[in-house]
Structures are given as C-alpha cells and as structure tokens.
C-alpha cells in the first residue's frame, strides 16, 4: 500500500470518528444540564426529563454529570470554549465568582414574573443562593452541618448528655480519648469546620468583607486549644487532613466520639457502621446552633441559547412534585418546603434516625455561617486553610499561623 491510500484511509476514519455526539444532535431546542456527582439518580432524572418533554415537545435534553473536584475544571473549560452547559448544578460558594464574572444568568427577573415561585422555597436557604440581592440559583438539594455523637462511647466515658458548648466539646473529647479512641472529628472542606470558630464569636472578615478580621487573641486561644486537643489525641488528626471518606469512615469505625459533618454524611456513616442505630447514634445541632451549608442549586449559563426553556426546566426539576421524589428517593432536603414536609414524613416512617438527622436541617436555618458572598472565596480559602492546618497539626504555633494567614488573606483581598 502506498502513502496515498494510507492517507485516504486516515481521512475516512477521521470523518467517521470526528463528529462529537452533541454536535451530531444539534438543534436549537436543545438543553444541556450538568449535575454535580449525583449519577446515582439517573433513573429519576430520566423520568423528570421525559415529563418535561411531554410539556415541551421537541426539546432535547443532554444530561452530564461530573464528580465534585472535576466539575469546576470541566465547566470552566466549556466556558472558555463557549459551549457551557445551559444549566449547571453548583455547590457551596463556587457560583459567586462565576456570577460576578458574568458567566451565570441573573434569575431575579424570572422570579419577579412569578411571585409565587419563590414562596416554594425555604427563604433562609434561598438567601444563601443570592448575591447582592440577585438570585442566581434555585435550590436543588441542601445540607448543613450538625453534630453526630456516638452514645456508646459517651456512656463508656460516663458522659450524661451531648455537649452544649465549645468547652464541652473539648472536655468531652478529652474524656473519651484513649488508645485507638479519639473524641472529636470534623469535615473541613467548604468551610464546614467554621462553626467551631463561629461558636466562639470569631469572624473571618470585617463586616464590609474587605479585610481579614480573624487575627484576634480569642481566635489564637481557640486555635491553640484545638491544636493542643489534636496533639493529645482528643481530636482526631483526620479532622484536619481528611476529605470526606476518611473522617466519616473513621467515625463509622466506632472509635470517634463526635462527628461534625453535614447531613449528607449520615447515610454514608450508617452504611459503614454496623453499630449505628437509634440507641447508639445521636444527632443534634452543633452547640451555638451555627452551621455551614453545602447547598446545591441550579444556575443558568449566560451563554445559554434558550434561557427561558432552561429556566422552565430548573423550575420543573425543583417543583414540588419532583423535589418530593428526590427527597424521598435520595433522602435529602430540597429547600422546597412542601417537598421536604412530604420527604420527612416518609423518612420518619422508614428510618426515624434519618428523620432526626434531616430535622436538624430545617431548624436554626437563620444561623448559617461559613459562606461569605465573595467572588474570590476559593482564593481566600486556599490562603486561609493551609495556615489553620499548620496550627492544628502543630507545625506552627497558633499566633504565627494566624498572622501568616492574615497576611495571605489580606494579599488576596488586595488583589481583587
């Protein structure tokens, strides 16, 4: 065979292989939706889409799902290429930067047109999805931190009830720690550990969100206590190093007294820990009642060719009917008031413990902390957190760590 035929063959294969799936199915009435690591609900989504297509014939829906750490990378690349999905499921504070950057569509006008719509959703959670009075997301499913505790270990250590204050947390942990056993563990991503600071009256930033405000003697004291407790084994080191699986896994292992985590952790822990039942696991508000939400919401990309349709779809997916289904199947809360009522009712019948956990998510929703409407939240986080790690893991003393953190955060603030 000579070069020419080879080239021909090459071109031919190229032709057949080249056409991307989503280009092949190009049509102006097409929606693409990118969800955040919830592939397990494929069946539900298919139903929802089918139902939506009944109401809007001729609409194609492309469903994409990426796992947590990869979603931002994927979405931004798509953004650069101008092929961003019409609808994207965003978590935590990630969306603020993109909203400010003009990647996301302001949904306020839509909500103005349909005044009843916003009444569907829990106002407190709704407020976490707004940036300077503009709504950019509709709540998909929600979750905030609470305190789980291992009643067996509490009994063993002769502790009567759950902790009522930061001091309790520390002293209880000390009481329970020995050998393999540690007293306390927390999730640390997305500011989930922040209630520990907040309950001691520590603020991250000045009220105008311009300057760091956390470098105070109180903060130093708190950080120092956390470091000492970690050193002594009262607080499990994994609290400061683990991501999701390690801390939850450790608590599920039955050797950790308290777990400070969001409600999503419950089912994982339950699945792992054979010891867990109503008598052995307690779930309460964190002392002080402060909690950090990790909410999921649907936003619409500015680049969307048919935003109205996109909005119709997210309205559809967060509607009472489908939010209820999600709440029942995935056993989460959706911030859709009616749906959560129904969901809780169903869960109460099947799994009272889960009900107790989810119930906490609807209480004290006015004391949400750890999410600041900052366009550069991620940069602040990356500047702040490593220094905290340095302190609690005993690499720097609390004072220096906070001073360094202050410098780093100030630098980020100056830049923006």
């Amino acid at each position: 065979m000579d070069r020419r035929t080879v080239l021909k063959a090459g071109v031919a294969t190229a032709g057949t292989l080249a056409m991307p799936a989503y280009l092949r199915a190009q049509s102006n009435k097409k929606l693409s939706i990118l969800t955040w690591n919830i592939a397990d609900q494929e069946a539900l989504f298919k139903e929802e889409f089918a139902d939506f297509q009944k109401a809007n014939p001729g609409v194609e829906i492309e469903w994409l799902d990426k796992k947590g750490p990869d979603l931002p990378a994927f979405y931004q690349t798509q953004l650069v290429a101008g092929t961003a999905p019409d609808i994207v499921d965003l978590q935590g504070e990630l969306w603020v930067e993109w909203a400010v950057g003009g990647a996301l569509l302001d949904l306020t006008p839509y909500l103005k047109n349909e005044p009843d719509l916003i009444k569907l959703y829990n106002p407190d959670y709704m407020s976490t999805l707004a940036y300077d009075k503009k709504n950019y997301l509709l709540p998909f499913y929600i979750s905030k931190t609470l305190l789980y505790y291992n009643k067996l270990m509490f009994k063993e250590a002769g502790l009567s009830g759950p902790p009522k204050s930061f001091d309790d947390i520390i002293s209880f942990s000390q009481a329970m720690a020995k050998g393999e056993k540690t007293g306390f563990i927390t999730l640390n991503f997305d500011w989930l550990y922040w209630p520990l600071m907040k309950m001691n009256g520590i603020e991250l930033l000045s009220p105008d969100l311009k300057k760091p405000a956390f470098n105070t003697p109180e903060a130093v004291a708190v950080l120092d206590r956390l470091a000492k407790a970690t050193e002594s084994g009262a607080i499990n080191k994994i609290a400061w190093t683990g991501r999701w699986v390690e801390p939850n896994g450790a608590f599920a292992g039955g050797n950790v007294g308290m777990l400070h985590a969001h409600s999503a952790a419950y089912f994982f822990v339950k699945g792992q820990g054979r010891w867990i039942n109503q008598e052995t696991l307690g779930a309460i508000q964190t002392p002080g009642g402060w909690s950090t939400p990790t909410n999921h919401g649907f936003a619409i990309s500015k680049t969307s060719k048919n935003p109205d349709l996109a909005f119709a779809l997210i309205k559809h997916m967060t509607s009472i009917k489908w939010a209820t289904r999600l709440a029942e199947i995935r056993r989460v809360l959706t911030a859709n008031i009616e749906a959560d009522k129904a969901g809780l009712a169903k869960v109460e019948a099947e799994d009272p413990l889960a009900h107790a956990v989810l119930q906490t998510q609807l209480e004290q929703t006015d004391k949400l902390t750890g999410n600041w409407p900052l366009p550069n939240d991620a940069q602040v986080k990356d500047a702040f957190w490593p220094e905290i790690q340095n302190a609690v893991l005993g690499r720097k003393d609390a004072k220096t760590a906070l001073a360094d953190a202050e410098r780093a955060v100030a630098r980020v603030m100056r830049r923006s």
Binding site: D40, F267, F268, K270, G271, I329, R331, D351
Partner: protein, 134 residues
C-alpha cells in the same frame, strides 16, 4: 519470533502463538459467561418462611429490598403460600435483602443476598424465621 517457529508451517506460526491463543481463550470465556447469564437472569428469588417453631407460615408479607444509593429500599412485596414458600419474579438488582413479617407471628431479620449478576435466579437455602411474636 523464535527460531524454531520458522520450521513450522506459516499458518501455524500465525495462529498458534500466544498473541492469538490468549485473546481467543478470553473471548471463549466471555461468551460462555454471557450464555450462562442470559439463561439464568429471570430475576426469580425463591424461599420459605417459617415461625419460631419451624412450621411454615402462610400469608406472611415478604419484602424485597434493593440496594439504592447507600441504602436499601423496598422494591416489591408478596405474601407466602400455604406451604410458607414465596417467589419474586422481578428482581432487577445484584445486591438485595429479603425480610418477612406477619402480625401476631413476628418478623424476620433482613437477610442480605449478594448475586453474581443482576437479577440472577436465586433460591434461599434456609427459610426466613419469624421470631418475637405479638
């Protein structure tokens, strides 16, 4: 590749070398396994329900739990025949549990069942035992 290869006829050299034989073996295994699967995936789950004394229980409600995102949810339920036997015909999953309950007689523990492939036909060896009545 080897020198002794050259002595053998060409077709043998092409067919009887590890680059052909190993993949061939793999293909065979795959085909065989799939044949086995398609002939055994009617999703039938059979078993019996007995009371504490070991006597078959009629009309007990048997639940089929199917794994769904970290928890098991009830997929189907049926009631036992006079001889205490029951049968599910539509198990879609590979990771299931069955439990039985009859008011007055008691309830059984949830028996976990792991299958080698989704909706594999399965017969429960020891019956579900209903205990602590009332």
């Amino acid at each position: 590749m080897n020198d002794e290869d050259i002595s053998r006829p060409k077709w043998k050299r092409w067919l009887l070398n590890r680059f052909v034989l190993v993949p061939a073996a793999l293909v065979l295994i795959t085909v065989g396994w799939n044949l086995w699967v398609v002939t055994h995936d009617h999703g039938i789950v059979e078993g019996r329900v007995v009371d504490a004394a070991g006597a078959p229980v009629e009309g007990a409600e048997v639940r089929l739990w199917v794994f769904n995102f970290a928890t098991f949810v009830v997929k189907a339920s049926t009631t036992t025949r006079p001889d205490g036997s029951f049968e599910f015909a539509d198990n879609p999953s590979h990771n299931i549990q069955v439990s039985a309950e009859k008011p007055g007689t008691g309830r059984s523990a949830r028996v976990p069942i792991r299958l080698y492939f989704a909706s594999e036909d399965f017969v429960l060896k020891d019956p579900l035992r209903l205990t602590d009545g009332s």
